[in-house]
Symmetry: C2
Subunit: 95 residues, 2 copies
């Protein structure tokens, strides 16, 4: 399985740095599991994260950006369900 | 044409930050032309850049990393041959 995470971000909103930061966090946490991390410019307020083709975050749907811990759990659940995330696995507000 | 640049870097050599920096430079310079910029972890001293499937830089072949201006010209020649790069188009040593 070629584990691939794709982050699509809005260039008009200047969200590349945020997307690139999150991408580097995922490449660090999932250094063994992630084969490819893609950054894709978009427009119109888009900020979406896909893991192996599954949409795991949409800013339009959620009305906010993911916290990095939250995003790591969502990515883990798709690409490496057995992988413990240590402190990152503590409960996220209300989840 | 889905313009896609892929940077494969060695995690053992800690080259993710360098690869991510170059990726962000390319996403900035080619904001209109580049649909996808991928960062791919590898091992064994690999540092390679592909543009639309064409290998445009191999550290093993060249024995060094590309200068960012050099890399932008190589990417431009594949994904946007008509695009002027302004000062980045000045002669590169001996080219």
């Amino acid at each position: 399985m070629h584990n691939h995470v794709k982050i699509t971000y809005c260039t008009q909103c200047r969200w590349m740095l945020r997307a690139a930061w999150m991408g580097q966090e995922l490449l660090t946490t999932f250094e063994e599991e992630l084969e490819e991390l893609s950054l894709c410019p978009g427009t119109g307020g888009i900020f979406e994260v896909e893991a192996n083709g599954q949409l795991i975050w949409s800013r339009k749907e959620k009305g906010r950006f993911p916290e990095i811990t939250e995003l790591k759990q969502l990515v883990r659940d798709v690409i490496a369900p057995e992988k413990p995330l240590g402190h990152a696995d503590r409960k996220i507000h209300g989840q």
